[in-house]
């Protein structure tokens, strides 16, 4: 019985998430139609480029659709009501969990921050939400499974949630309420009735989300796959190992530092992360890179700077960066458990 379950799971992992059939199909295309050998640089990178691009776009469409459907049940207005009555670390945990299923865009950071604050949510709970929201979501979980396997994907989610909970709790304990901008505290709480959507509404919303995300990220995906292909086939192993490989004790710091200013979607960074990982870069280094890209983006930091004073903003960024670096080193140290 267990054998059957494990076989089914392996099938799902290989055929649906990793799409080995697609890789074989593209291999056929590259070898027989283009006449290039996969063992050569050109053939290898062409295969990588076509296969990864198609894989990401398929995953993107399916995942965004499914996740948006689920997320349509959890608009931030509902999250605010759910969190409104909970105090203490339970609130941080729930806030972090709800952050993962609430649709996030940096344009809603300000209203969400103000709204949660006005509803009386402790500052730390709001931050637990704001840390987990861009960092962890169902789409990244599934797509990480596809590229790195289930163990790493689940570990990433768990660790991301811990970072959100710990980060929020620290902010609570530091008592930084006075560093919230004055006008924010003057806004009164208004609860709006959350409108129930019909199934048709949800499907239309989910389709719209797929179109929107596609529009936003297709170029980043192509660039990301291009860089990934270059790493995969053109950049010598020795350079990669020296710069971000496990021989470099600062690899995690470097990966984090490079990732922070990058404003890209997880879909765009994945092919880069995948290529680096296949070249032997530590899993922790790779995850730190992806977390740094997704958790902190210039638009959302600019937005937050309008609602919190510089000191609180700096502490927030510092906590997240430190967390990412620690997670990176830990994953590298314990990589034997995952790889």
């Amino acid at each position: 019985m267990m054998n059957v379950i494990s076989q089914i799971f392996t099938w799902i992992n290989n055929e649906i998430l990793k799409m080995t059939w697609l890789s074989d199909l593209i291999q056929g295309l590259v070898e027989n139609v283009f006449g290039l050998s996969l063992k050569e640089r050109l053939g290898g990178s062409v295969h990588f480029f076509i296969y990864d691009t198609i894989k990401i776009f398929i995953l993107l469409s399916v995942l965004i659709f499914l996740i948006s459907y689920i997320q349509s049940y959890f608009p931030p207005e509902r999250t605010k009501k759910i969190l409104g009555n909970i105090k203490g670390i339970k609130g941080n945990i729930l806030g972090a969990l709800l952050g993962t299923i609430t649709p996030f865009c940096s344009c809603s950071s300000i209203p969400i921050f103000i709204g949660f604050n006005a509803a009386g949510l402790p500052l730390g709970i709001t931050f637990s939400f704001l840390i987990s929201s861009p960092l962890v979501d169902l789409a990244s979980l599934l797509i990480l499974m596809s590229f790195f396997g289930a163990k790493i994907a689940i570990a990433y989610v768990v660790v991301g949630l811990i970072l959100a909970v710990v980060g929020g709790t620290i902010i609570d304990k530091l008592g930084l309420e006075k560093y919230v901008e004055g006008y924010v505290k003057e806004i009164e709480n208004v609860d709006v009735e959350v409108i129930e959507l019909t199934r048709k509404d949800r499907i239309s919303y989910s389709k719209q989300q797929v179109k929107d995300v596609f529009h936003k990220v297709w170029l980043y995906v192509l660039i990301g796959v291009g860089i990934g292909a270059a790493i995969h086939n053109w950049i010598p192993q020795s350079i990669i190992e020296t710069v971000v490989g496990n021989n470099n004790p600062f690899a995690v710091l470097l990966a984090t530092a490079v990732g922070i200013p990058m404003y890209a979607d997880i879909f765009g960074t994945l092919p880069i992360a995948e290529a680096l990982f296949q070249k032997g870069v530590g899993i922790g280094t790779v995850l730190s890179f992806m977390m740094a890209v997704t958790a902190l983006s210039l638009p959302s930091i600019i937005m937050l700077s309008k609602v919190v004073k510089p000191k609180l903003l700096t502490i927030f960024v510092a906590i997240v960066v430190t967390g990412i670096v620690i997670i990176g080193y830990l994953f590298n140290a314990f990589s034997f458990m995952f790889v």
Partner: protein, 75 residues
Amino acid sequence: MIIKVLGSGCSNCKKLEENTRKAVEELGIEATIEKVTDFKKIMAYGVMKTPALVVDEKVQIMGRVPSADEIKKYL
């Protein structure tokens, strides 16, 4: 009928306004369409994800951009 489109200038907010105008036109009803961009006023409706559509002071649509046809059922 007083219709308010809540949103501070992102492309989705403009699309909602366009689709709303189209819906009003096609239904041939009397309605004023007002754009609300001040986020304090937006938050006064309890809305946290824009764009949003308010019809006669009741929030009907939040955080998404339905087509003109879908908007008609709220007017």
